[in-house]
Assembly symmetry: C2
Homo-oligomer: 107 residues x 2
C-alpha cells in the first residue's frame, strides 16, 4: 500500500470542505489577508487560521506574517499531483474503451 | 455559501482515502468484481462494499449485481467537476500573474 500513501490524502481532504474551497477561490484572484478572508466568508479569524494551516500543510497555499497581519497566497503547483492522478485514471479508462471499440470493429 | 455546496465535497472526500484511490486505479483499467477488488487490496468484502457505496454516491463508479456477484465500473465524468474547479483556479491565478508581469514591464 506504500505507493498509495502520497500527498493526495492531504490535498483531497483540503478540497473536501466548502469553506476551504471558497478560500482557495478567493486566493486564485490574488493574495488576501486573514481578515479579508474572514470578512468574505463570514468565518471567524481562529477558524480561518485553522483552514489556512490545513491548506498550507497540503501545499496549496503559503502564508507570511508581517506584524499582526497574515497574508496568504495560492500555490497552484500544489494541485498538480491530484490533477495528474485524475487525468491518468481517465486516460487509462479511455484507452480501455478504445481497445474495446477496436475489438468490436474487428471483422 | 450556497454556491459552494456542490458535489465537490463528496468527490474530494472519496479521493482523500488511499484504499478508494487504489480501487479507482484498478477500475480505470477495466471493470472488476467486489471479490477481485478485495483480493487486490487485501480489504474484506464488507469494507469494499462501503468504499464502493461511497464512490457510487460521489458519482465516480457504477455497480451492478448479478446473482451474488457485484461488478464495478469507473465513471470518469464524475471527476469532471473537480477537474474543472482546479483548472479554473489555476487559470485565474495565471491570469493574475500575467497581468502583474505586464504591469511591471510598463515603461
Amino acid at each position: 500500500m506504500a505507493k498509495y500513501s502520497d500527498g493526495l490524502d492531504a490535498v483531497a481532504s483540503a478540497l473536501a470542505q466548502p469553506s476551504r474551497r471558497q478560500i482557495l477561490s478567493r486566493l486564485s484572484t490574488g493574495e488576501a489577508t486573514s481578515s479579508e478572508l474572514s470578512e468574505l466568508t463570514g468565518i471567524g479569524l481562529p477558524t480561518i487560521a485553522k483552514h489556512a494551516a490545513a491548506l498550507a500543510d497540503a501545499g496549496l497555499i503559503t502564508s507570511r506574517k508581517s506584524g499582526r497581519v497574515v497574508t496568504h497566497r495560492i500555490r497552484t503547483v500544489g494541485f498538480d499531483d491530484l490533477q495528474t492522478w485524475i487525468a491518468t485514471r481517465k486516460l487509462f479508462w479511455d484507452t480501455q474503451l478504445d481497445s474495446l471499440e477496436r475489438h468490436l470493429e474487428k471483422p
